[in-house]
Amino acid sequence: MTGVELHHGAATDVGTVREINEDAFLAEPPVFVVADGMGGHDRGDVASRIVVEEFARLARTGYDPRRGPEAISATLRASQARIGEYDARQRAQGAEDFQAGTTAVVALLIEDDDQPKWLLANVGDSRIYRFNQGVLEQVSVDHSVVQELVDAGVITEADAAVHPERHIITRALGGHDVVDADYFVLPLAAAERLILCSDGVSGMIDDDTICAIMRATGDPRDAADKVVAAAVAAGGRDNATAVVVDVVGWAEDTPYDSQQMRLSLEQKLGALP
């Protein structure tokens, strides 16, 4: 994993409507997390903080870079268990049906096929985007009712943005069910920049706006600040959090070689033996 340098920035804002910030984030290279706690009176801020604490522990203790999914899966299970214990304590104190919950998006540097790569994981509707050569692409797939309706062709992406059930998610940490994340592996060269954000960002500003900010902003710290500020300026109806990570000093090792391309063309045309 030598030769990989990560520059990052992070920002969070309570927004203009909410009183507490239930989002939490972690930016301790090579581990990056955004968690969006749910349900104000059920203390979603505790649930999201638990996730971040558990991943901070992972960042400190280290992990086997060739067994990334296991590391994330184990950390998510540990988070789930702690949230369950917290729920149980609250219920014991008389809070019936207490159930805290949180989303989580995670980016972890791993080794695969002897190359450093990004391992990404997602539970819920927080998002991971990649920004590569001026193009923004959402990598994670929301675990939400509207996403499933979109996948099934029932509604369009545009409908999804204004759908009344757009905040109902289908997977989250907290509760009784065993939850596993969806995982993604990207070569570093295919993700010059990663953006992890809560739905307080992606729900307030569209992908084009995020893309424009990324294009205009070279420093990841400024990029994170600007994205969150834009979400708040657009209404700030939810806590907004963004973590931006740039991969520095990692060039794709198979650059397009015009010289070789020309030679090959000549070979194909029979000009060379």
Partner: protein, 444 residues
């Protein structure tokens, strides 16, 4: 039901696999799943008795604990071969009754009898239970009868009484109408974990048999899709539409379920580069869960019930991740750049391959290949162990590559892979990704 067409058998549910073809019927024990899959195509294709026998014995008799092979022909003799402990057949003619026992010989028992009026084969313990009619297909049985046993179950046991009248009314003039309820019967009537959903409901006048393997998408539909005669299916506890594929997948592994996971939902025949069923959640969601009343949910993210119901369905130890699916390699890929890769799970090959939406236990292998001209796309092809009809071999899918993929199978002309469409690989096949890079498919 007594005037069912010639060639119509009846069966009782059990552990053995039974393949009903047009003239040949084959029974194999539960352990011989692989053979069943291999021989299914032959039997269903109308292969002659001797051909099926050849196929049955290719890997030797010693590894075959038992089997039953029956040849019936209209007006001609009936030939029965049996082998195995507890495998019995009874042939009745006008003159005599012949009892055969598969344990009576070290190789197998063979008997040819003319003028057979009734034939029944019992494998293992005949637990009784209803008889279902079948005239082609693959089911799991404990007993089969020709002609169909006296009282065919007209409908599943727990079917509501409403169903009885229609089942009784039409038999005289339309036996065709009657067969489908009987065939779909066992699927609903029994524990969904038990018998395999192997026999797709077939239109009874079955001159050309449907090929059930490529077909299984139809079946969840039948279970959930509420055809008029199966109200019981919808009322049943396992009949929630979005869990339809759930009871079909856990052990004991029946032959088809793997394909359920891989077959994209019917409305999406042309998956995008990443839309392959292996990654995509397949169940189309029903209407979303009840909303929480007020119209402004901003900032009130809630946990809903997943229409895909993906979380809770995992078997295994609660709180523990599922054990990795242990698959033995079905093929070996010899890549011209020098690398050799076993296909024991999903393998993604390209210039800079990416893996999308996998679970913590099924991480794909990413194989990076050199492509100095950039003719190879970042994620160019996927090779994975096949399921269903492709079980036991590898299948290749072009992941929407820019320059396409050419496949040369032994003895076949070169073929351009269509993006998103899986093609079964034969050992000896060559996959050409461009840029001078080829992948040779070999036995594992």
């Amino acid at each position: 039901m007594n005037d069912a067409t010639i060639g119509t058998w009846s069966y009782r549910a059990g552990d053995w696999f039974a393949v009903f073809g047009s003239g040949t019927t084959l029974l194999l024990p539960e352990s011989e799943r692989e053979r069943v899959i291999d021989l299914w195509a032959q039997v269903d294709g109308g292969a002659a008795f001797t051909q099926v026998l050849d196929g049955l014995l290719t890997s030797g008799l010693s590894s075959l604990p038992g089997f039953v092979l029956v040849e019936t022909s209209e007006g001609g003799p009936t030939r029965v071969l049996l082998r195995g402990e507890g495998v019995r057949a009874t042939l009745t003619t006008d003159a005599e009754t012949v009892d055969l026992d598969g344990a009576a010989a070290t190789t197998w028992v063979e008997r040819t009898v003319d003028g057979v009026t009734a034939l029944s084969v019992i494998v293992g313990d005949d637990a009784g239970g209803p008889d279902f009619a079948i005239d082609g297909g693959l089911v799991r049985v404990s007993r089969i009868d020709l002609p169909p046993a006296g009282q065919l179950a007209p409908a599943p046991a727990e079917a509501p009484p409403v169903e009885a009248p229609p089942a009784e009314a039409p038999p005289a003039e339309a036996p065709a109408v009657e067969v489908p309820p009987a065939e779909t019967g066992p699927i609903q009537a029994e524990d969904p974990l038990g018998p395999p959903p192997a026999a797709p409901p077939e239109p009874p006048p079955a001159p050309a048999h449907m090929a059930p393997w490529p077909e299984p998408e139809g079946e969840p539909e039948d279970q959930q899709g509420a055809p008029p005669e199966t109200p019981a299916a919808d009322a049943g506890p396992d009949a929630e539409p979005n869990t339809a594929d759930m009871p079909l997948s856990p052990p004991p592994p029946p032959p088809t379920p793997p394909s359920f996971d891989d077959v994209p939902p019917p409305p999406a025949p042309e998956p995008g580069p990443w839309g392959d069923g292996g990654f995509a959640e397949t169940a189309p969601p029903p209407p979303p869960p009840a909303p929480a009343g007020d119209s402004d949910h901003d900032g009130h993210t809630q946990i809903g019930v997943s229409p895909g119901a993906e979380g809770p369905e995992q078997p295994g130890i609660p709180g523990q991740p599922m054990a990795p699916a242990v698959t033995r390699p079905v093929a070996k890929l010899i890549i011209s750049s020098g690398e050799t890769v076993d296909v024991d799970r999903v393998v993604l090959i390209g210039r800079a391959p990416e893996a999308r939406r996998f679970s913590s236990t099924d991480q794909p292998k990413l194989v990076t290949v050199p492509s100095p001209m950039h003719e190879i796309s970042s994620t160019h092809i996927e090779v994975r162990p096949g399921s269903g009809a492709d079980h036991g071999s590898a299948v290749v899918t072009d992941m929407g590559s820019t320059n396409g993929t050419v496949l040369v199978q032994p003895g076949l002309p070169p073929e351009d892979l269509k993006p998103g469409i899986a093609v079964q690989l034969i050992p000896g096949a060559i996959i050409n990704l461009g840029d001078g890079l080829t992948i040779q498919v070999a036995r594992p």
